[in-house]
């Protein structure tokens, strides 16, 4: 296909309107974080029982998406699919934007964000968290080089090699993100090896959905149409990833059911966990997997509208999926005394822990997400990212 890359040429008002709106949300996020830091985390919904909350759901979802949106570029560089070559720069740009914003949310939720420099200079190499800091910075650097090789004709011969490197790196990165949970020996919800492939497939699904949505928005703003081959192909991908996600989700829960000490947590998530069970069945499974699958299987003529709806539902469902993993895994009390029932404790050892996020955590999450979008907006307006027919 013959194509060139262009900047975003949308009407000034639309650009500035979007810019100001997103900028406002980013400021709101910063203000929320400043308030939480100043007052201390007691103003959030998090406590000594649920230590990771809404900010972590946002951050993990964004990082998982970051790795997944790169899929489009990977298909062009690693699997040589010509169809996606014009979209590869956008895909890499989205990846950077989501990665940065996910990390910023994580940092702003730290008890001591002012000690970021400590985190960057003092490493405990036994910690998967420390390794993730390397994985993330490496990903950032590789992606930046990748974008450069795609935008600058003089270095374009390297783009395929760097693209392959980025592809490999992102698989390791998603595994690394999943392993953050895998290393928690005593948290039953996390101790199966299936969590890593599940995270990879989740990233592919959510990433593709996000890519399609953003592509739709950008093509509307730029007043171009998405070629039908792309829509056809993305629909196929989404169906495959939905099926794979359902498969790994079933595998994950069956594995847990086979491990006798994990039956209790399974029962909790699948049957009697109240809000968590609802989030699982309605949010993650129904809204995020089954209904989208139904929509796409019936969307035989590849219409845009159902695909857009599907993508939105997949992303919302993905958010719930991460919430079930992060919060559900903490809400279930630790099994400190096997063969005993804790009947009294001042530290809530015998309770299912509840979690009601505060407006500040929500503000931080939304602000972070808006940061990703504003980064994208600024870069596509000032650099040539958007494909156009020659």
């Amino acid at each position: 296909m013959n194509y060139t890359l262009e900047k975003l040429k949308t009407c000034r008002y639309l650009y500035w309107g979007t810019f100001l709106f997103l900028g406002f949300l980013v400021l709101l996020g910063l203000a929320s974080s400043a308030y939480m830091e100043h007052e201390g985390h007691y103003v959030t919904g998090m406590n000594n029982q649920i230590v990771w909350g809404l900010p972590h759901i946002f951050a993990v979802t964004l990082i998982v998406i970051a790795s997944g949106v790169l899929n489009i570029a990977s298909m062009s560089s690693a699997f040589d699919k010509k169809l996606y070559k014009p979209l590869a720069p956008l895909s890499a740009l989205f990846a950077i934007a989501f990665l940065v914003s996910g990390l910023i949310i994580l940092v702003l939720d730290l008890g001591r964000p002012d000690r970021l420099i400590v985190a960057m200079t003092t490493y405990n190499f036994k910690s998967i968290f420390a390794w993730n800091i390397f994985l993330y910075s490496g990903f950032f650097v590789i992606l930046s080089i990748y974008i450069w090789t795609m935008l600058d004709f003089n270095v374009s011969k390297f783009s395929s090699v760097v693209g392959k490197l980025a592809f490999g790196w992102r698989i390791i990165l998603t595994t690394g993100t999943g392993s953050i949970f895998g290393f928690l020996v005593a948290r039953e919800a996390y101790s199966t090896a299936v969590l890593a492939p599940l995270f990879i497939i989740m990233s592919l699904l959510y990433g593709t959905a996000v890519f399609y949505l953003l592509l739709r928005i950008i093509s509307k703003m730029q007043n171009i149409t998405i070629p039908s081959e792309i829509t056809v192909n993305i629909r196929k991908l989404i169906i495959i990833f939905l099926l794979a996600n359902i498969y790994f989700l079933i595998l994950y829960h069956i594995t847990n059911l086979y491990i006798s000490k994990q039956i209790a947590i399974e029962k909790f998530i699948l049957l009697d966990g109240g809000g968590y069970t609802t989030m699982f069945w309605l949010g993650q499974v129904g809204f995020g997997l089954l209904i989208p699958l139904f929509f796409e299987l019936t969307n035989k003529d590849n219409r845009d509208f159902p695909l857009t709806l599907t993508s939105i539902m997949v992303i919302v469902g993905g958010f719930f999926a991460v919430a079930v993993i992060i919060i559900g895994g903490q809400a279930f009390p630790l099994n400190i005394f096997p063969d005993h029932t804790i009947i009294e404790s001042s530290f809530f050892d015998n309770n299912i822990h509840g979690y009601t996020p505060s407006i500040y955590e929500f503000g931080l999450g939304i602000g972070g997400t808006s940061l990703a979008l504003i980064i994208i907006l600024i870069l596509i307006t000032n650099l040539k990212f958007i494909p156009a027919k020659k």
Binding site: N48, G111, T341, S345
Partner: protein
Amino acid sequence: MINRRKFLVKSATALAITFVVPSIISNKAHAKKPLAEKVSDKQSWGIHIDTSKCIDGCTACVDACNEENGLTGFGRPETDSQWIRKVTVKSNTTDKITTMPLMCQHCENPPCCDVCPTGASFKRIDGIVMVNQHTCIGCRYCMMACPFKARSFVHETLTQQNTNAPRGKGCVESCNLCVNRIDHGSETTACEDACNNLGHSAITFGDLNDKNSKISLAMNSNNPRRLRNDLNLDQKVFYSNI
């Protein structure tokens, strides 16, 4: 190890300079051992808890810990720090009810230290697991990793802290076996003293390497066990008669 030692020596020196006479740092500190003496692996500190002596409803150990370490709460039990807590459990097979204190178990293979990205969670060579309050970034990964929920995150601004137990908003903390007292030569922890003072003597602190120490003797006669032995963490806190 060097860094940890340096950190401890530095903090100890700072305290000594501030207070000129180390023995008045805290009326609970006993100056039997010079502070400059290095922490060594000759000792392996641990605690034995005889649950048959622990009294239902008694919270003397908890109160003593709060006082020793300046853990004044804010009336918000879900976010206030608890370094030690009382739990009561019932056996699923025999219905036997046991009550006991629960705190950091000072694991020989501590998951909290394994996951800590900055190494702020560390284990001293004498077995004490603690948090370096200068390098903790407050990520709470250690709290996710601890199988005993032994850690607390400081959720609010602290005022009027005890000088012998530095703490800070935004950092994680947990029982450090009264490290400040031990480094000053004390042979007891605050919780043990409080329990003994009431005549219950359910808590015994001491050196697990010394065959004649009070903890070794208590352990010999009591058939102690570790909580969650299946996790192979080799904790230094033992329980009997659960």
